[in-house]
Structures are given as structure tokens and as C-alpha cells.
Amino acid sequence: MQAWHRPYVAAFRARFLLMLQYRAAALAGFATQCWWGAIKIMVYAAFYETAAAAAPLSLGDVITYTWLGQAFLALLPWVADPEVGLSIRTGGVGYDRLRPLDTYSYWYARTLGWIIARALPRAVLMLVAAGIVLPLVGLQEWAWQPPSGIEAALLFVPALLLMVMLAVAVLMLANIVVAASLNERGVNAVLTPLVIVLSGSLVPLDFFPDAVRPLLHVQPFAGLVDIPFRIYFADLRGTAALQGLALQTGWTLALIGLGRLAMAQMMRRLEMQGG
């Protein structure tokens, strides 16, 4: 008897191994992210030198936040999965409908494999560069610090997992819009800026004006960067950290539910392309 999950694991594995082949892209991404991280950190350092008291986080935490952000950049839902757009345009989606599988879970597994494989080599290289090499060459204060204590480290594991699950749930909604509209440009043009600002990639959400902070902290994209990273350096700890995890879980489940509903609607009206 086959376990129910085997086809989904196979879809994940196939996509994961394929994407790992793009080594040059990973190296280029890594170099770009090092440069980006260095500029951001120098800018933060200049602001902190001027008025450190005004900052909601310490400079060390912001530096770690920046390196974490660069390391896990490719995990964020920047653009809809290009394979979905392709399969819609070529009619390949017909095969997906014929498989005795749940199409949502099948696409979810493939998209998951796609983003993890893109992120993994870059994250490892960045950890080596910013977490190990920088302290070794005497730039300890500019380095990616280890988690602040055992509790933070233990809480960061589920936070990181939920970050990935949430990112794929967001991407699935984007995939479904692509499938319904036959075009990915529109979705991506809206999605990318939303993710940069609302996730906390641009600046940690606490740097935004006080009036909008309460709103920023409860919206779904906060679970992609701001919540997991603040758990990492124990800015969110105890109850606050658990609330953060709960928020990530809630939004992930809500977006998956929404995605399933939207997919059922979309599939009912889908017209097969290609031929």
C-alpha cells in the first residue's frame, strides 16, 4: 500500500534537485547579497552613530537581522512560480488535473521544492561568510551573531518552518491568479513591492512610524521576516514569541484555506491552452 504523501514528496524532491543545479545563479545571488548586506549595515551604523537612542533595536541586532534577511532572501514569495505560468500557457496543467492527486498539495510541494533549493546554498554561503569568516578576520561586531540563548534557538526552528510554509501559501495565491489571468507580470508587479515593505525586508517593521506599527505587526507578511528574525535574537521572547508563532500559523492556515477555495473556483472555469 502506498502512503498518501509519497507523490508529493517525489514532486518536492524532483524540483529541489533540479533547482540545486543552478550553481552560478546561487553564487551570483550570494555575491549580490553580501554587497547589499554590507551597504545596509554601513547605513544603519551611520544612523546609529547619530542617534542610537532613537532606535527600537540595538545595532548588533539590526546587523544580525540584515544578514538573516540576506541569507533567507530567496525564501520570500517574490514572484509566482514560473513553472505554473508555463504549464498554464502550454496546457501542461491538463496533466496535473488528470493525476489522482490533490492539485493544490501537488503544486504546493513543487513550489516548496523550488524556493528551498534556491535559498539553501545562498543561506549556507551567507552563514559561512557573515557568521564565521567575519568574526575570524576580526570584524566580530559586524558579524551575524548566534541566536540569543537556547530558548531563542529552539523557538527559531518552528518560526523558520512557518516562515517557509507561509511564503509558499502566499505564492500559491499568486500562482492561482497567474492561472486565472494567464499572465504573471501583473501579479509579480504587485507582490514584490508588498513583500519588501510589509515583511520587514526593507527595514525592520519597528522602524516605521508609531501610528502604523500595530497594524504592521498583525498583517500576514510580518510572519515572513520580522517575526522569525526577532525571535532569533530574542526581541520577541516568552509569550510574545508564542504569539508570533501563533500569528504565523494562523495566517498560514488562513491563506492555504483561501488558496484552496480560489483554486477550486479557478479550476472550474479554466480553459485549456495550447495544442
Binding site: A46, T50, R185, V190
Partner: protein, 267 residues
């Protein structure tokens, strides 16, 4: 037909092609505007929190930001052919066709496509310059306007030079190297803040390596009528954008060396 008239032909053909899809072109431009405008939101958030950075106000930094964005948008608008050279010309063998035509390859690549969507970033940059004018004591005297235009021209030359270098690398790598994004998008990122806030090694890279500071920081000091906190003499400030043109000239030398060793990939 001389080179310039041919170029005008290329430009008008490209614009007419994009005008066939007015809604798509408009939406792409609007999307580009939105995507590039969020960067100023991040700058604003930091100034809102900290007030100022080492004596620089938000209005002053907005001028650095606006001018470098305008420079990059124009270079990006004009240099599409060099940007996609590796993937669309070398790897596919399409460059052979370009070489067969009795015109310079560089001219054909410059005329390859005028990307109207890049006006999105330009409008954003202009809007930020207007914002800067309202926030900082900038007096737009004829001299200041001339320096701004001159700085933008130098910036366009510098960014175009970087894109030509990216294309030149493709003669060896047969690919468009995304790593050059470090100098283009990363260059915009670095040059949108005043040079004096950076560490010493980085200031040297931005002045003598890839002279971004020469097309943004130094001329903007002249517009703001501020002496350089790092001690560059006042008379040199308006002259520095020349470095952008020098960079472009060197890039074309490298381009010619690359052309000389080009071997077709095609069959």
C-alpha cells in the same frame, strides 16, 4: 544614412512597437514606478526614526537619491541591448547577424530597444528631487541646474559603461552575468546616501574604482553649496562627473578587445 539618423530610426521603431500595446506599456511603467519608489519609503522610515544622519537631513539625502535614480533610469532605458547581450545575442548566436550588417555592432545594440517602462523610475526620481527641493535649502539657480544636468549626464555615462562591461564579459562567459547587478542596482543603492557616511575603504571604491561618488556625491555637494566634510576642494566638485565619461570610454576599449576575440557559439 548616417549613424545618428539610423539610431533615430531604431528609436522610433522601438517606440512604435511598444505603442501597439498602450495599456501594457502604461502598466509596466506604473509597476516600475511603484517597485522603485518603495526604496524612498525605507529611507524615509529611517529618517523619521533618527531625525538625521551625521549632519545630513532627509531633504538633502533625497537629492542624492533622486539624481542617481534619474541617471540610472536613463542608462537603463538606453542600454537594453548591452544588458541582454549575453543571453540574447552571444548564447543564441544572434550576434553573428549583427556583425554581418555594415554598421557598428555598438550602434545596433544601443538601438536594440528603448524600454519605455524605465520612465517609471525616472518619474519617481524626479518626484523625489521635487520633494528634496521643498525640504532642503536648494536654490535652483542656472548654475545649480547646469551642475545637476551635468551630473546626470555623467551618471548615465557611468551606468552605460557598467552595462557595456557586463556585455563585454559575455564574450568570455557566454552568459549575461547577474553579478553586475551589484554595480548597477547596488550602485544606485550605495549612491543614494552621501559618501561621507560610509567606511573609508568603501569611499575609495566608490571614488576611484567605480566612480559613483563622482556623478552623485561631489556634484550634489556643489548644488547644496556644502563643503565636503571629507576635504575635497570646492573647485573640483563640479568637474567630477567627467569620471563617468572616462569610465564609459574605458568600457568601450574593453568592448573592442572582447569583439576581437569573439567566436560564434552558433551552428
Amino acid at each position: 544614412m548616417n549613424g545618428f539618423r539610423l539610431y533615430i530610426r531604431y528609436v522610433s521603431a522601438s517606440i512604435r512597437a511598444q505603442a501597439q500595446y498602450p495599456a501594457a506599456t502604461f502598466l509596466l511603467t506604473a509597476g516600475h514606478l511603484a517597485a522603485t519608489a518603495i526604496e524612498i519609503l525605507g529611507v524615509y522610515a529611517l529618517f523619521h526614526r533618527f531625525g538625521q544622519v551625521q549632519g545630513w537631513s532627509f531633504g538633502e539625502v533625497a537629492l542624492f537619491y533622486g539624481l542617481i535614480n534619474i541617471s540610472f533610469s536613463i542608462a537603463d532605458l538606453l542600454s537594453r541591448g548591452f544588458d541582454v547581450f549575453g543571453s540574447d545575442f552571444v548564447r543564441t548566436g544572434a550576434f553573428d547577424r549583427v556583425l554581418l550588417r555594415p554598421r557598428s555592432a555598438a550602434l545596433q545594440l544601443i538601438g536594440y530597444e528603448i524600454r519605455l517602462s524605465r520612465f517609471g523610475r525616472m518619474l519617481q526620481g524626479l518626484a523625489v528631487v521635487i520633494l528634496a527641493t521643498n525640504l532642503a535649502p536648494i536654490e535652483w539657480s542656472p548654475a545649480a541646474v547646469a551642475i545637476a544636468v551635468w551630473a546626470v549626464a555623467g551618471g548615465v555615462a557611468l551606468f552605460a559603461g557598467i552595462l557595456v562591461l557586463q556585455a563585454t564579459l559575455a564574450f568570455w562567459t557566454v552568459e549575461s552575468l547577474e553579478i553586475v547587478n551589484v554595480l548597477t542596482y547596488g550602485g544606485v543603492q550605495a549612491a543614494q546616501y552621501p559618501l561621507s557616511i560610509y567606511a573609508g575603504w568603501f569611499r575609495k571604491v566608490l571614488t576611484f574604482g567605480v566612480p559613483l561618488a563622482c556623478v552623485a556625491y561631489y556634484p550634489v555637494l556643489a548644488i547644496l553649496k556644502r563643503p565636503d566634510p571629507l576635504g575635497a576642494p570646492d573647485w573640483i566638485l563640479p568637474l567630477t562627473p567627467l569620471a563617468g565619461f572616462a569610465f564609459l570610454a574605458l568600457s568601450f576599449l574593453a568592448w573592442r578587445a572582447g569583439m576581437a576575440r569573439y567566436a560564434s557559439t552558433g551552428s
